[in-house]
């Protein structure tokens, strides 16, 4: 568990970067520190491994004040990943990854085999291990950066916009990959980002900071999206926060009506097996069209997309066999309806 | 006395006695000569450095051989260079010294100009090309200004080393303030020698400061960042 207790950082020039910040991050959670530049999110992160010392307040990891530990020992026990990876350009990939194990006094063989294991985990094959950072793509460098941070298996990981320097497609891949790995590894992670979508994808908790390092809100991504405490958080999360929220919810969270209960004159056309094939107006001839049904396991956002794509303004839910089980209208996708359904 | 008489052929003023007072005209005379040599050498060096650098920049194949050649020139001790130029320019006039200094200047400048041009960010040159700049206009209007800090650094180095190196000419009866070194050591006048050394150092520092200021005035955009 990481605890920040009324932590303040005032720089010598008088700027207050972080102001009376208190938060608690249970073990195994990923906290996304979200904010614009000047919100003190990076300063907050760097105070945890004491690259910056707080002016006031205490930071503790598993109940131990970080200042009670030797600063280098502390850092070796915390994984650290930064934008553009910060790989050592004069060392090969494998030597970069073995940095911390070697500092901790592991022998060469153990360090290397651990590093190879990690590289494999990150989808970097053997031939990469003897390359130099400059010979890798941005995405590969970031993977090596994360592998280096995890090499000594630290319980805590600090990540400062780790995927900020790669293109959006690679970034999305890395986010998903990281989220998947994190489910296996169960590290306690603090992740700095200014990208709301990234925070939602990787974070199990989101802390929104406003300028001057004041905590605006902390909560699960769903909480923050559904119930922003004020206009600042609402603005920051974006006008499409409801859509983002739907992306986090299962389709089953959306109210389903029976096929017959559509509040309009549209009807679902079914084939002999009960599978939807199109829409028609009540009493009018059957107009078959291409439809996108919502399958089990989809997100609530898929319901929204299906409803918007359909002529009738409603989405059709199907079961594993493709048999229609119900419909949802745009009304059912409102926050109020979802919360009523829950 | 005989050696001194040949060294001061013509009518340069002559250092009298072991003290400084009464000898300022000597310092003034050789300082003026020193400045003249320096200006001519720098001007010559600059004049030839730019086309060569432009060529090396446009045709990168040419740069390694040019660089190798400049390295060889730079490896030649100045006295040896004076001698090497002797058969072509004569042994008894100022030309070998000035040309030798111009050569060193050229060597320093070509390297600095090319490195400065290479350091211009690729996206800037791409943007300039994209905006429709012609080659020469892009060079003069975009690349060269951005390379000014490096070029000025090269000019400072060239000026300081030229001012310092001209004195070696004193060993062969030339070399402006360097003649005060030679005369000082020949006649055992510490003060003349020391004044010469101080004059050279001061001259070099003034030239350095002037160039530094010129660079500062020429690159307002580098100051905006820190303000």
């Amino acid at each position: 568990m990481i605890q920040l207790d009324r932590v303040t950082k005032q720089f010598p020039d008088g700027t207050v970067a972080v102001d009376e910040l208190s938060l608690e991050l249970p073990t195994g959670e990923v906290l996304a520190l979200l904010g614009t530049s000047g919100s003190g999110k990076t300063t907050t992160l760097r105070m945890i491994n004491r690259l910056i010392e707080p002016t006031r307040g205490t930071i503790s990891i598993d109940g131990r004040d970080v200042r009670s530990l030797d600063v280098h020992e502390l850092r070796r026990g915390i994984g650290y990943v930064i934008q553009q990876a910060g790989l050592f350009p004069h060392r090969t990939v494998i030597d970069n990854v073995t940095t911390v194990p070697r500092l901790l006094g592991w022998d060469r063989r153990r360090s290397r085999s651990r590093a190879m294991e990690l590289l494999e985990l990150f989808g970097l094959d053997d031939s990469m291990s003897d390359r130099y950072p400059a010979q890798l793509s941005g995405g590969q460098q970031q993977r090596v950066g994360v592998a280096r941070a995890l090499a000594a298996d630290p319980p805590v990981l600090l990540m400062d916009e780790p995927f900020g320097a790669v293109d959006p497609i690679v970034r999305a891949q890395l986010q998903v990959e990281f989220a998947r790995l994190q489910r296996e590894l169960g590290k306690t992670v603090v992740f700095v980002t200014h990208d709301v979508d990234e925070a939602i994808t990787v974070g199990t908790q989101i802390a929104v900071l406003r300028t001057g390092g004041v905590l605006a809100q902390i909560g699960t991504p769903k909480d923050v999206l559904a119930h922003p405490t004020d206009l600042f958080v609402a603005d920051f999360m974006g006008a499409d926060r409801q859509v983002k929220l739907l992306g986090l919810l299962p389709a089953s969270a959306v109210n389903q009506r029976r096929l017959a209960d559509l509040p309009s004159d549209w009807e679902v056309v079914l084939d002999g097996a009960g599978r939807p094939t199109g829409w028609c107006r009540r009493g009018a001839p059957v107009t078959t069209e291409v439809i996108t049904p919502v399958r089990p396991g989809a997100t609530a956002r898929a319901v929204l997309e299906a409803a918007l794509a359909s002529e009738s303004g409603a989405a059709i839910h199907v079961d594993d066999h493709g048999v229609a089980t119900g419909v949802s209208t745009l009304d059912d996708l409102s926050l109020a309806s979802i919360e009523a359904a829950a | 006395m005989r050696g001194a008489a040949t060294r001061f052929a013509g009518n340069p003023p002559y250092w009298n006695g072991p003290q400084l007072s009464g000898n300022w005209d000597v310092i003034r005379y050789y300082t003026a000569e020193h400045i003249r040599f320096t200006l001519i050498a720098l001007a010559l060096g600059v004049l030839f450095a730019f086309p060569i650098a432009y060529l090396s920049h446009r045709r990168p194949v040419l740069y390694p051989p040019i660089l190798a050649m400049t390295n060889v020139v730079y490896a030649i001790p100045s006295l040896a260079l004076f001698a090497l130029l002797g058969p072509f320019l004569g042994y008894t006039n100022d030309k070998p010294i000035i040309v030798a200094m111009a050569l060193y200047t050229l060597v320093i400048l070509v390297r600095n100009i090319v490195e400065g041009l290479r350091a211009v960010p690729r996206n800037v040159t791409d943007a300039a090309t994209g905006l429709g700049y012609g080659r020469l206009r892009q060079f003069a209007g975009v690349e060269l200004p951005l390379a000014i800090p490096t070029i000025i650094a090269g000019m400072r180095l060239a000026a300081v080393s030229t001012i310092s190196l001209i004195t070696v000419g004193g060993a062969i009866g030339k070399g402006a303030l360097g003649r005060m070194f030679a005369d000082g050591i020949d006649r055992g006048i510490d003060v003349e020698l020391t004044s010469g050394v101080i004059a050279v150092v001061l001259l070099a520092l003034v030239a350095d400061a002037l160039l530094l200021t010129a660079g500062w005035l020429l690159t307002p955009w580098t100051r905006a960042r820190t303000a």
Partner: protein, 248 residues
């Protein structure tokens, strides 16, 4: 006589003088002078390195004192070696060793400034990562900053060596030692072929030393930095580093 032929003949005589084994041996022979030349240059470089390298490391690592260092370097560069040698000769004509000081002055700026610039130019992200994973200040310097700065440090030493060897010529001003003795005496007696012969020897030594540094660069510098440089040229460099040269 045709002046062109005269030029050539003086050069040819210079080469002949250099390759005439009759001029090689003895304590005033070419070999002895070459050895002296190398001894004095090497000693001056060594002295300069011991002083300039640690200062450069500290300035680069702490980022403090850069202005003082570059100003000092400029003053040192402005000092005319020939003048200092002459002064020292007047004050202490008995031994050559004080003259090393005059040569060492030349070597200080390139070693100090290149070391400082090399360290300061290390990518801040790399340094941050090094600290962040738990390297101590000393480990950051020795394991990350110094190896990354090595190309520039070696370039500075190469430049210093080049200047010192070429400038060591002035040690011959009153016949003290090194190959400069031939150059000064050749001038004095108007036997210019000796000047050429000795100059060729000095140039050859400088080029050999340059080649040695090129080999050293290849051996010592991590291949990772060589690859990195190609990519780096596309980006702008933060501070411009001069592989500085000065008086000889």
């Amino acid at each position: 006589m045709d002046p062109g032929a005269h030029r050539m003949s003086v050069l040819v005589e210079g080469v002949q003088w250099l390759f005439d084994s009759g001029n090689w041996w003895g304590n005033r022979g070419i070999v002895a002078r070459v050895v002296e030349h190398l001894e004095y240059s090497g000693a001056a470089l060594g002295v300069a390195f011991v002083i300039a390298f640690p200062i450069g490391l500290i300035i680069g690592h702490t980022g403090k004192g850069r202005f003082v260092a570059s100003s000092t370097a400029n003053v040192l560069r402005a000092v005319p070696t020939y003048g200092v040698v002459s002064l020292l000769f007047i004050w202490r004509p008995l031994t050559l060793w004080p003259l090393l000081l005059a040569l060492a002055i030349l070597a200080l700026p390139p070693i100090m400034l290149n070391t400082a610039a090399g360290i300061a130019n290390v990518d801040p992200q790399t340094r941050d990562a090094a600290e962040g994973v738990g390297l101590t200040g000393f480990q950051v310097l020795t394991k990350v900053e110094a190896p990354c700065a090595l190309p520039l440090i070696l370039a500075g030493m190469r430049s210093a060596a080049n200047q010192v060897i070429a400038t060591a010529t002035v040690l011959g001003v009153k016949g003290q030692g090194g190959l400069g003795v031939f150059i000064f005496s050749g001038y004095g007696t108007q036997r210019y072929y000796i000047v050429y012969g000795a100059s060729i020897a000095i140039i050859a030594i400088v080029l050999l030393v340059e080649a040695a540094f090129a080999v050293l660069q290849r051996r010592l510098v991590s291949p990772g930095l060589r690859v990195a440089r190609i990519g780096k040229q596309l980006r702008s460099r933060k501070s411009i580093t001069l592989v500085g040269n000065s008086a000889r």
